[in-house]
Symmetry: C2
Subunit: 345 residues, 2 copies
């Protein structure tokens, strides 16, 4: 009997997720508000309350290199990237489960360093680690599940943007990718020049911190709650801005125009891009790992937010307009969705 | 500067968990009812309701060998072992998150087979897969997180057993380990005799099924709810009976006496043990992976349960009596806690 095998690269990460949803079938659970396909799953937990649940793993050799990633940072980052998904539902994190896969060369101290980072992040975000699993593994792995909560009516999905909404981002973009570039350059220099070489990382502190120790934008979500602001659509920028704009447009059934000249960059990000003959916009669109929030807000709501906390980078359009970007010269081009994928091209 | 490194084998899996709890510090969350240290974490979710959360991973080369474990079974088992932890809190599972780590030789069909097993189990236990994470990895990995629920007053912990309680188990013991023995024997025979050799697995169907496709005792928990029975202490048998009896005794601050001659075995388990010159009691105490329930119940409550559904295998004693077993000849010996650990001796 001949068996068909389909390389995962042929369907891509998002294609694979579709296959998985097909394999699972439809849910009949009436307390389930959102299954796979948003930043986190959402289900009712008590009258008017919703819980959100999300999980993300970091694996040695796939998501990080141990020689560039101190263990404390790794523990902290594993929590932050999950809190970012919780924030992207307009919810706050409550509980975390931490699974560690430990290779032969791991020691008790490895675990303690990782957990020091987990604790720092847990305290910063006000969540509690309630359990997990620890096992032998071939490569160092840390996988975190976070359960968060919100009023049911406050949860924000990817699918609520309306034509005319402003598209906004928090913070600045492309920094995490610039930081990765710097770390890889320095590793190469170390290999070439030997261990006497002391790299000067000081001019790149900001972008390196963006790569190694990202902060989830939970404070933004808390600020919205205080001001009574609720975006129409919300997603975190983990795969790159281009991919996230497409997710919002697909699920909101709208189009978008992104103003390339409005994208916010840190000066260090610009410098790294320039030195590499890259455009910083490319880092923002396709670099990933910025863990900022992208949200769609009616123009009238903009005044209720502090001007310094966000940048308007575009607008939602009718679905027929597609997803486009304006270049600084005023041209409009299609915004390709291609983001950072761990599988395929 | 000299750095101390402590091999994990020196502190063992349970010692490592203590270090991790120390590294995390005490929780201040007033809705948290139980953190690390039971089968699952427990927190309030609505008035009088509790949610339980648990996570467990299966990794190629650590927890299973791909040549002995069909992918559909693997998907199903990864769900079952987590449902077993939920049942061990006297709760029912509601939602699952599934994380897959896929090596280079994985195909779309690999994922679909795994998910067919996940779906079968999800349907059998009445839970819904609501999300997860999929990533490249060095070895095939499936990690499942399950969120279950119960009335707050119905949750049963490890720590409620009283001297005089009967110690009971569901089903039979040692079968999963007997199944593993058979599978390993057959693999060796295949290697020696070549691929023309067709092993006769039929006499071992039951124990192989116990190893590859365990069933969590959710029906037992549902039966208790219907009969209004609530054990004083409850744990699932994943590491072997000896280890689980010790967990209950430590957390209940009591001793125990296990009647070795009362341990329930399937005939196939006895046969495999005999052929290997082993004692089936050894499989029950130290084999692990049976996913039966061990519970402590006041004697008066026994009549309220169906006789066929459980075996009384011992009794709880005063803490000073320690944890002992009676051999068939009437002797009493210390019951060693040593169970199946993925780290250390």
């Amino acid at each position: 009997m001949e068996q068909t095998v389909t390389p995962i690269s042929e369907v891509g990460e998002f294609g694979l997720i579709e296959r998985m949803k097909d394999a699972l079938g439809e849910s009949q659970d009436e307390d389930l508000l959102a299954g796979p396909g948003d930043d986190a799953a959402v289900y009712r937990a008590g009258k008017g309350r919703a819980h959100v649940a999300t999980t993300d793993a970091l694996i040695d050799g796939v998501h990080f290199s141990p020689d560039m990633m101190p263990l404390t940072y790794l523990g902290s980052k594993a929590v932050s990237i999950n809190v970012s998904d919780v924030a992207a539902m307009n919810a706050v994190p409550r509980y975390a489960l931490v699974t560690l896969g430990l290779p032969d060369n791991a020691y008790v101290e490895t675990v303690e360093e990782l957990y020091a980072g987990v604790r720092q992040a847990a305290e910063a975000y006000g969540l509690t680690v309630v359990g997990g699993d620890t096992t032998a593994a071939h490569r160092l792995t840390i996988s975190v599940t976070i359960i968060g909560e919100a009023e049911e009516r406050d949860v924000v999905y990817r699918g609520g943007a309306e034509p005319g909404d402003r598209l906004c981002v928090t913070g600045d973009l492309g920094g995490a990718y610039a930081g990765l570039k710097v770390l890889m350059e320095q590793r190469e220099a170390l290999e070439q020049k030997g261990s006497d070489y002391a790299p000067d990382l000081d001019p790149h502190r900001y972008v390196i911190q963006r790569q190694l120790a990202p902060t989830a934008r939970l404070k933004t979500v808390q600020d919205w709650a205080e001001r009574g602001v609720r975006p129409n659509a919300l997603i975190d920028i983990s795969d790159g801005l281009a991919s996230e704009v497409h997710h919002i447009c697909e699920q909101s059934d709208c189009g978008a125009l992104v103003y390339e000249e409005m994208l916010p960059f840190n000066e260090e990000t610009r410098q790294v891009a320039e030195r590499n003959d890259d455009e910083p916009e490319h880092y923002a669109f396709y670099g990933g790992e910025d863990y900022e929030l992208l949200f769609a807000l009616p123009e009238a709501e903009l005044d209720r937010l502090e001007a310094g906390g966000l940048t308007v980078i575009g607008e939602c359009r009718e679905a027929g307009d597609g997803v486009r970007r304006t270049t600084p010269s005023g041209e409009q081009r299609k915004l390709e969705a291609k983001g950072f994928e761990h599988f395929g091209a």
